[in-house]
Symmetry: C2
Subunit: 187 residues, 2 copies
DNA sequence: AGCACTGATGTCAGGGACTGTCATCGCGTA
DNA sequence: TACGCGATGACAGTCCCTGACATCAGTGCT
């Protein structure tokens, strides 16, 4: 192997992130992304299902880290603590804060990209629900714990990439979790 | 007014729901939807921003009912109980169960439609967060309560439209809420 | 060497979503 | 009557995305 430049997918992803940042998502065509990566539009669509997917290549690793942490948590742990373990495990596979901020800025700039982000999160929630069920957690409790975990993740993650924030992601996730507990105990 | 048939938007929505149910979302073109409603494709896009939006016309009424209930809840109520009031208020603006099942079946049949459903829910969550903040709930607590409320809504709603289910939506929402409380108190 | 085979890419044609622009037409109003 | 307004139609065009076929370097077999 090696007739063409290697790392085709990564080159496309980098080109896309650059162009989306330079001119915006709508003002960038798939043909331009492919050209910057030294490829053709047709080849782009052989690596990514659509124009948005190029920004979401890491979702699979995220799912794997989360569900593995859930599966490996001690059998005695309560569902919400299993969630906590999964959240901390997620933090390990994230890029550095600057990259996360750049990507988050692009994704937040266009509703189509937000939609994709949301369905990735929902897919993750479904996988976590399944992992919890596999531990014996009842159906509805598993679903609610997973959704609540996504809420904690969202809040903690957004705090992590906020401009002035200094603390690290695991700490912020733990803090958001205890805030959720306080809120839901309030009634 | 009255030079053309009235209720253009509703005719388009009905035609779309029919066609999506008959042949599926992908196998239906916007031109076909417009033709069944006695209009042209160009006119469709003057009433709905894209092919998916025609299924989500009720989102605005939902947001209004929810945020009004939140705003009108007694000042002494805890955030999570305010959420409960909002959830019950939502139930009032829903169509009958059969229609909801039909629409849910179409939306669930294609990822693009699921994406749109998710961003509508996220928009609703943001509006509820804002309504809670307006009541004096701290930022993060408001966001977490809103997200948790969406989780409760999702679980309760899906239970409501499940094939064998007999109970009514408000009861199922209340039940899901108490289950969430039980889960988050478990750690 | 000669050969077929494989796999990633290029090329081309085309459908369908969506937009900009201008024309049309019935109605209200001066 | 003349004029403007507002919803719609007609038409051209861009871009997203797909199917079909050709190309071409490497691999293994003979």
């Amino acid at each position: 192997m090696g007739r063409w430049e290697p790392n085709t997918r990564e080159r496309l992803a980098r080109a896309a992130l650059e162009l989306f940042g330079e001119r915006g998502y709508e003002q960038t065509t798939v043909a331009e992304i492919a050209r910057r990566a030294g490829l053709t539009e047709r080849t782009y669509f052989r690596h990514y299902a659509d124009k948005r997917e190029v920004l979401f290549g890491g979702a699979e690793a995220l799912r794997e880290a989360f569900t593995r942490a859930v599966a490996e948590a001690p059998a005695s742990a309560a569902p919400i603590d299993v969630m906590a373990a999964g959240l901390v495990a997620i933090a390990a596979v994230f890029p550095e804060r600057g990259t996360a901020r750049q990507r988050h800025s692009v994704v937040g700039s266009h509703p189509e990209l937000l939609e994709r982000e949301l369905i990735k999160r929902a897919t993750l929630a479904a996988a976590v629900t399944e992992a919890l069920r596999a531990r014996g957690v009842p159906d509805h409790a598993a679903a609610l714990a997973a959704e609540a975990g996504m809420a904690v993740f969202k809040v903690g993650y957004e705090r992590w990439i906020a401009p002035a924030e200094q603390r690290e992601l695991p700490d912020l996730l733990r803090e958001s979790l205890s805030e959720l507990k306080a809120v839901t105990a309030g009634g």
